[in-house]
Amino acid sequence: MIGHNIQREQGGWAMGEPVKGTVTSLSSIYSPEDAQKASVRVQEQISEHQKQVQQLQGFLNDNTNLVNLVKKLPDQLHHDIMVPFGKAAFFPGKLIHTNEFLVLLGEGYYADRTSKQTIEILKRRGKDLESQIENLNAVIKDLKYEASFFDETATEAAEGVVEIREDYVDEVSDEEEKDTPTPGEDDFARILSRIDELEKEEMESEMAEEAEDEDKPDLSHLLSHTHIEPEIIHSEPKESSALPVSKNSDSDLDLSSNIKAPTSSASNNTLPRAVEQKKLESLPNTPVSKNEVLSTRNDSSKAFTGSIVEHTHNTEKSQTSQPPTPASKPVSRFKMRKK
């Protein structure tokens, strides 16, 4: 019932205006009657504890009186008293052996003690009582705070105080701020993963260049003999457009010319080109062995999503005009296939 109330309340507010948090009237969470009841219960507990404290205080008073009595008794050899005989009768008599007391130690064991020893025992008992009273007083103090809190809640709920709760949102763009924080985080994660992907791609392309360098004779061989163009994989347009890497574009230009080169003059150009490539490759600080590992991993993990286009030998020029990344990519795939 209460939960339903809250929901309605929130819905109402959300519809009314675009708020970031939720506004709940306190009375819908804690009805004033309930808070009052809770406070009454706590008050009852307090009075119960206070009774206990009073009882203990009574014991303590008795104990101090007894200490005084036991202290005084040995002053005289005997005292005239009324000796109780059962609960309803007594005899006139006297207390004798006034420095001898039988003290209960607990569990039905008694010990003969002198006045001083008895006083020590009684003082220890008194200390125990005091600590008990202290504990109870602490509990009462806590309960009193609790009761005052409940009272406050009750009065606040009765007055119609409202609780405003706003989730703390980190600096996010304006559009995202309106949304709940999760979509924003999702976006961020997506961006991060995208960056990772792009980096991977970049690496791959670099590797491809390397691989191409190594495989240059083979490739040229193939090209020249069979006259079949290597399969060119057009990666999705977003990949190529989203990845403007300056360094790569340089090398890729070289690469594209490389591809062209073997067709015209197979063996002549390859060696110097390869050296040049190597030089370029040494810049990005990527060891060759690692590259190879990466390449295999990438290819195995990534499904082939490009399209294969076969070109005749004549249309080779069009290849050069193509964006550099796709040009580099197919070679690696080609190489992989060959392996």
Partner: protein
């Protein structure tokens, strides 16, 4: 519909009567009776003790007096022939053994009468509770137990 509501109200009143009036009364009556039982026991103990004193013709007595908090001291009674007996309302009368043994049975008898009275009262309250709960059952149209 209207009758149902009326019956419900009646049931509520009956239950309140049982819970707020009859049950506390019952508890109080039982408590009172227990107190009287205790008194009776005290006096019967006293009578028995006096009888044993008389039989053994004990004239002096040593006993332990509870000073409180289970601390005992020895006490000596040089002459047991005179005893102060509680005769009610905080009065203690000095009596000899024979006098005490006459008075104590009177007290005991009085306690017995009181106990009987309380027992009757308790039975009465219990009967009332049963009757009211029977009434509630009828209002709810439940079969009798």
């Amino acid at each position: 519909m209207d009758q149902d509501r009326l019956a419900e109200e009646k049931i509520k009143r009956f239950e309140e009567f049982v819970d707020r009036r009859l049950k506390p009364d019952l508890v109080r009556a039982i408590g009172e009776r227990d107190k009287v039982f205790e008194q009776q026991k005290v006096f019967s103990d006293l009578r028995r003790n006096l009888e044993s004193l008389e039989k053994n013709s004990v004239t002096s007595l040593r006993s332990m007096v509870n000073l409180g908090s289970e601390v005992y001291a020895q006490a000596d009674v040089p002459d047991t022939r005179h005893i102060f007996v509680d005769v009610g309302l905080g009065f203690h009368v000095e009596l000899t053994w024979s006098e005490a043994l006459k008075i104590i049975p009177v007290r005991e008898e009085k306690f017995a009468r009181q106990i009987e009275e309380y027992t009757r009262l308790i039975a009465q309250i219990k009967a009332q509770i049963k009757m009211v709960s029977q009434g509630i059952r009828e209002l709810l149209q439940l079969p009798a137990e």
